[in-house]
Amino acid sequence: MSDHHHHHDDGHGREHDRPLSGPALRVKALESLLVEKGLVDPKTLDEIVEAFETKVGPRNGARVVARAWVDPAYKQRLLTNSRAAIAEFGFYGYGEDMVVLENTPKVRNVVVCTLCSCYPWSVLGLPPVWYKSAPYRARAVIDPRGVLKDLGNAVPDDVEVRVWDSTAELRYLVLPVRPAGTEGWSEEQLAAIVTRDAMIGVAEVTVPAGSRR
């Protein structure tokens, strides 16, 4: 299947006020075709988009991490049977087989998918562009310390780096180290400071200036 350059750009009546670019035109034509053939329902497409914009995302993963930080029994369940422990939250569409990787002061875990873009959708949402990009996919396995350093997150020499190349339908979530200065914080307060990048493993969780107690 090759990219066609001369698509029947419209012929489907009114266009937007601004001309569509190549892929936008091709996607519009494909959607029209699949609707006409009875293969997809445009209302369902709207709902899918809405679900991925509002119902899944890194806030889900952050809740998992925060609970593991405040509840040792939950953390134990999460590390030994990740799929079931995450299922306790009842996240939208959650069905992935999961492995949670615990960071410690001596071990840093970094997740990548060198072959495509495998990512734990129901706990982190859709992956960011950088995660799917050639620079990250190429370099994370051969030079993880360089990647982390460039991202402002250099790893000390005496800390071990474990890179997890996500080659199966078994997805990874990094459990970051709980930052100092958060003693006594509630689960909700903690969840608010857990970032997507920390759960991929390219950042650490820090206490943002001004967000105290």
Binding site: A24, G93, D97, T114, L115, A138, V141, E160, A168
Partner: protein, 218 residues
Amino acid sequence: MNGVHDMGGMHGMGPVEIEQNEPVFHAEWEKRVFALRLAANFHRKWNGDMNRHAVERMPPAAYLASTYYERVLFGLQTLLAERGVVTREELESGVAAGKASVPGPLAAEGIETMLRNRKAVRRGENVLPRFEAGDAVVARNNHPSGHTRLPRYARGRRGVVDRDCGVYVFPDTSAMAGDPRPQHLYSVRFAARELWGSAANERDSVYLNLWDDHLDPA
């Protein structure tokens, strides 16, 4: 296949740049093609492994020049035609020659169920494992022209089984012939120096998920 999608360890791709406050989608058409692919998956005319293989067969120069969602579009068009869901003529013309012979499209109420079941590739078969945690293994040095989840950088390299993850569909055959060939999946630890030589940090490692058919005893 030894394609450009198998990027692990390549040089010269440039810096990793994180976009701050990145939106979920960057354009309307990205939303539509993402949703189209999911809604089309509903008809079960192909599996996730076939989907990956369709994307990795994009011509290499185009693959590297494309964004993620352009590759999604390419993969979807490829599968629709190859699996006989629409004809190439219909894709070219944009005009349907008739209704598809499918029960009906995915309804909004079915989205969540479909997502939940999407990754049901863990299997219940009682297949014996060939390895157990602690076993020394070597990744096979095979170069299939079809789909494989064994990246080039690990082929012929020695590792140690970290854990047995259970029985899973084998993507290498699932993508090519729809043959699930259920077998044990492992997490295998490779020392960074085994993969990348003496310049790598001696503490570091790369963990790969590999299947029985990727491995031999070391």
